[in-house]
């Protein structure tokens, strides 16, 4: 049976970048069967631009936040495999092909991520809180945008937890690991992440709090068999 792939793209006011994101998703040797755009009430030309691309359906987001948008996309997705992208990211041409091949060759893996490379948007300055050296190196990317998964993983692990704000991805990856879901790591750089002023709003303290909550949850799961809770 031919594998079917759904791509979930989340966006809010992304008319500057969404065309490039969609082109990157649709121009590789393996093309997804559908692209599900979850639009968080964009007030710009996002929807008009997205609608010009083939195999794209746009859904108005009902939930809140990035995690909620990804979750809605997952629920709309019909493919055997699901991948993700944010409107300001760019996939490399071979992303889907390499990741799909990996999962077909590794039946024990429920998903795979890859390395990612950050780049500065044209005309943008490096945000004060962003580590500039990340622009010079490719790094391991445990982020949804670098992930391709078998759809069954969400039945085993659950959806993203929207209460973790910007740590929802780490929380989900930790949950997947605790559930024994193997997620492979490809050596190739398959995602380009754009750094620009508009993708920021600054609250590191809250992020760290959510990361700590996520780790506390993981400790609790590991201790579960012992019947004790983390101190």
């Amino acid at each position: 049976m031919e594998p079917t792939v759904s791509v979930v793209l989340v966006v809010r006011n992304g008319d500057a970048y969404i065309a490039e994101a969609l082109r990157s998703v649709l121009s590789g040797p393996v093309v997804p069967n559908e692209v599900i755009v979850i639009d968080g009430q964009s007030a710009d030309d996002t929807i008009a631009i997205a609608s010009t691309f083939p195999n794209v359906t746009v859904h108005a987001q009902r939930s809140r936040g990035v995690a909620g948008a990804y979750n809605e996309g997952i629920q709309h997705a019909s493919g055997m495999f699901i991948a993700f992208i944010s409107h300001d990211d760019i996939w490399t041409e071979n992303k889907l092909a390499l990741q799909l091949t990996y999962l077909q060759q590794h039946p024990e893996a429920m998903g795979c991520v890859a390395h990612i490379q950050h780049f500065l948007a044209e005309g943008a300055e490096i945000p004060a809180s962003f580590r500039a050296s990340l622009l010079d190196e490719s790094v391991v990317g445990y982020v949804p945008e670098a992930l391709l998964v078998r759809r069954e993983i969400f039945a085993r692990v659950g959806l993203l937890d929207e209460s973790y704000a910007a740590a929802e991805d780490t929380e989900w990856f930790a949950r997947a690991r605790d559930a024994g879901c193997m997620i492979g790591l490809l050596p190739e750089t398959l995602l380009l992440k754009r750094v620009h002023g508009a993708n920021t709003s600054l609250a590191g303290e809250r992020l760290n709090k959510h990361l700590l909550m996520a780790l506390r949850g993981s400790i609790a799961r590991k201790r579960n068999t012992e019947g004790t809770s983390p101190a």
Binding site: R64, T200, L202, G204, A231
Partner: protein, 125 residues
């Protein structure tokens, strides 16, 4: 949580309460006194257990020794609730299983100002 090593930590037994005393600025000897008083154990046993626990906290860079001139405060958690009914030595647990998630995740490699983070009222990305 140490985002430079990718390790995270937890404590067992009375570890969380000892930690709370340390956070208040209590000296190890004062904490030992609280433990002896509460659990009726020998001072030498309390000292030994605390030395091991605090030594591990130091080793992992979770606490530092007070320098000369820094005042310590009394351990004021003596009456706090949450102390286990019976004595068992505090333990530090080190988790390394999420190292790659925490260590190399650039999205969370942020300064105190943080980046990126959705505004609370933002519906989506």
């Amino acid at each position: 949580m140490n985002l430079e090593s990718g390790h995270y930590f937890s404590t067992r037994n009375i570890g969380a309460l000892v930690w709370a005393c340390i956070e208040q600025g209590a000296a190890v000897d004062a904490i030992s006194g609280v433990i002896v008083n509460r659990y009726q154990i020998e001072k030498i046993d309390a000292d030994r257990a605390l030395a091991k626990f605090v030594g591990e906290l130091l080793q992992h860079g979770l606490v530092r020794e007070a320098v000369d001139g820094e005042n310590t405060r009394p351990a004021t958690l003596d009456d706090a609730t949450g102390w286990p009914a019976t004595w068992s030595a505090p333990q530090v647990e080190v988790y390394t299983d999420m190292e790659d998630l925490l260590l190399l995740d650039p999205i969370h490699d942020v300064s105190d100002a943080g980046w990126p983070m959705p505004l609370p009222d933002q519906p989506a990305a």
